[in-house]
Amino acid sequence: MKVLGPAHVLLTSATLALGCGSRTTLKWEEGPPPPPECLLDKDCEGFGDRCFPVACVEGKCEATPPVDCNDRNPCTSDVCDPNTGACAHPLATLDLDGDEHRSPLPGKRAGDPDSCGDDCDDTNPKALPGGAEICDGVDNDCNGIVDDRATLAPAGDAIKISDGTTRASPGSLAYAGGASFLGAYSGQVAKRDSVYLANLSPLVGRVGKANRFTTSPADAYGGPLAWTGDRFGIAWTDRRDARGSTINYEVYFNLVNPDGTKRTADVRLTHADYFSINVSMAWTGNQFVVVWQDDGLTKHDDNGIFAQRVDVNGAAIGGNVRLHEDDGRGQTAPAIAAGPRSLGVAWMHGDSQSHELVFAAFDYELAPLVKPVSLTGPMSPGVAATVYFNEDRFVILWYDPDGPNKTIF
């Protein structure tokens, strides 16, 4: 709390003496002379700070010129010691990782002229200007490029995994943590197509022989894989249920152990004649969601996109759900990915001569979150949409051979 000084007391006393409502013309200078603000330097507030010295001059405290420590160097912090008034100029940047290169000033880019630091990553001693770039996911030489000259080409020769089958076609590849992958493909033996699984390691290639996963003699094709943390889910389409004159592909699901063995009995997800095909699948963290195209479940035998939820033990949750009713022009080739709170599904809408790529988001119970949006104009040959979730958004890729230079978008 601030204590009133002598001059204030005098003025107040004078006002009071004049009674309520009165105005005075008195000025404080006109009163008795005030006592001095100070007699000595030490009476002044801030006395003792040699950087911002004060002095008592004729009874008044006056600031004297502060110590100027500015060395005009942006890369230093200019410091004045209040006890001594001495200047110091330590560097304004740090070298926390001990690689003898300093981080840039806040808001500056490493290596820029006024950045005062050229370490592009001061948390990693393997990143420093002049460092030797190696393929380790680090910008070792601080040139702004992680793993210069790295390509998406395989580190070694391609690994053949479909030994023993003919007319093999890829299904999917799933990462199972550590150094383990599981690959799924369709292959033909004795003129029958089946789904095979192959355990893969980046170090040794295929681990053991591929397993024939679908054991029915009927043709089977697929299948997308998804890893939950302790098991895979797999979906595929096969025609074991076709009878008599009816063509019938149905969608099946099962769980796969880390070694590729089957965990339970095959679970049939669809129960309608004709074509339930083109299966895609995602794992949300607590359920699988399988999507496919179906012309046996729609009102007018056109192709529609359907989905089915499956729990972690392989039991269907609810029934087949049509994701979007449209004008009957046909929905084909769905692809699905799971985000933290939503599912992203892309599909082709139209017929073989004019179709467009459509995307829509759904919640985990398959309720639409937004209306489908068209991502392309009409295409005639454009195909093969793929959806991924990356950080905070869905990324959709597709192939349009009529685009410039046969573009993948």
Binding site: D163, G164, T165, S169, S172, G187, V189, A190, K191, R192, D193, L197, K209, N211, R212, T214, T215, S216, P217, A218, D219, G222, D230, T237, R239, R240, R243, G244, S245, T246, I247, Y249, N257, T261, K262, R263, T264, A265, D266, V267, R268, Y274, F275, N278, D301, D311, G314, A315, A316, T332, A333, M348, G350, D351, S352, Q353, H355, P381, G382, A385
Partner: protein
């Protein structure tokens, strides 16, 4: 998106009287048969909680790391069937009158007898490459109605093992007339 053989569209729905083989054949092969040839020396200790399933078999829980393994019953091997070929779809005039020769995909008699492909003469359609279709007979001779990722369409029939089978830059892709060696130009 996965690539699967182009499924022939609903030709079978027009072929109610067509007989395409009986009995099936599944023979052992180089790749391990995960369902039927699995090591039987496992402890059977339980199964997952999922109750719904299809197909015969029984669960086993036997691995050292204790996850359940399901063991399926195998179909007995059966002799290969002879495809019922009424006509040659690559012949210049395979059928009489205004009919054309169309492949027919296999259809099963039961779980262990998936049937075999065949061919049949049917009234010829008019659709050519890329024409939207509903059944194979919407397409003219030498073409098939198949399901593709860009809709149901007529594609030219081709031979998978023949170099440049499509001749127009298209690729001869396998169709689900399994075992025939025939494909569709896409």
């Amino acid at each position: 998106m996965q690539r699967i053989p182009l499924p022939l569209h609903r030709i079978a729905s027009t072929l109610a009287l067509l007989s395409v083989g009986c009995g099936g054949s599944v023979v052992d092969h180089d790749a391990t048969d995960a369902g039927t040839k699995r090591d039987a020396a496992r402890d059977a200790r339980g199964r997952d909680s999922s109750g719904s399933g299809s197909g015969g078999g029984r669960p086993e829980d036997a691995r050292a790391d204790s996850y359940p393994v399901f063991r399926e019953d195998a179909c007995a091997d059966a002799p290969a069937e002879t495809p019922p070929l009424e006509c040659d779809p690559f012949a210049a005039k395979p059928c009489s009158g205004n009919r054309a020769c169309y492949p027919v995909p296999p259809r099963a008699k039961d779980d262990c007898h998936p049937g075999t492909y065949g061919t049949i003469c049917l009234l010829e359609g008019t659709g050519s490459q890329g024409t939207p279709c509903g059944t194979t007979t919407d397409c003219k001779g030498g073409f098939l109605c198949v399901k593709t990722s860009s809709g149901d369409q007529c594609v030219r029939l081709c031979q998978l093992d023949k170099f440049g089978a499509c001749g127009d830059g298209r690729i001869c892709r396998e169709i689900d007339v399994t075992g025939s060696g025939w494909g569709g130009c896409e």
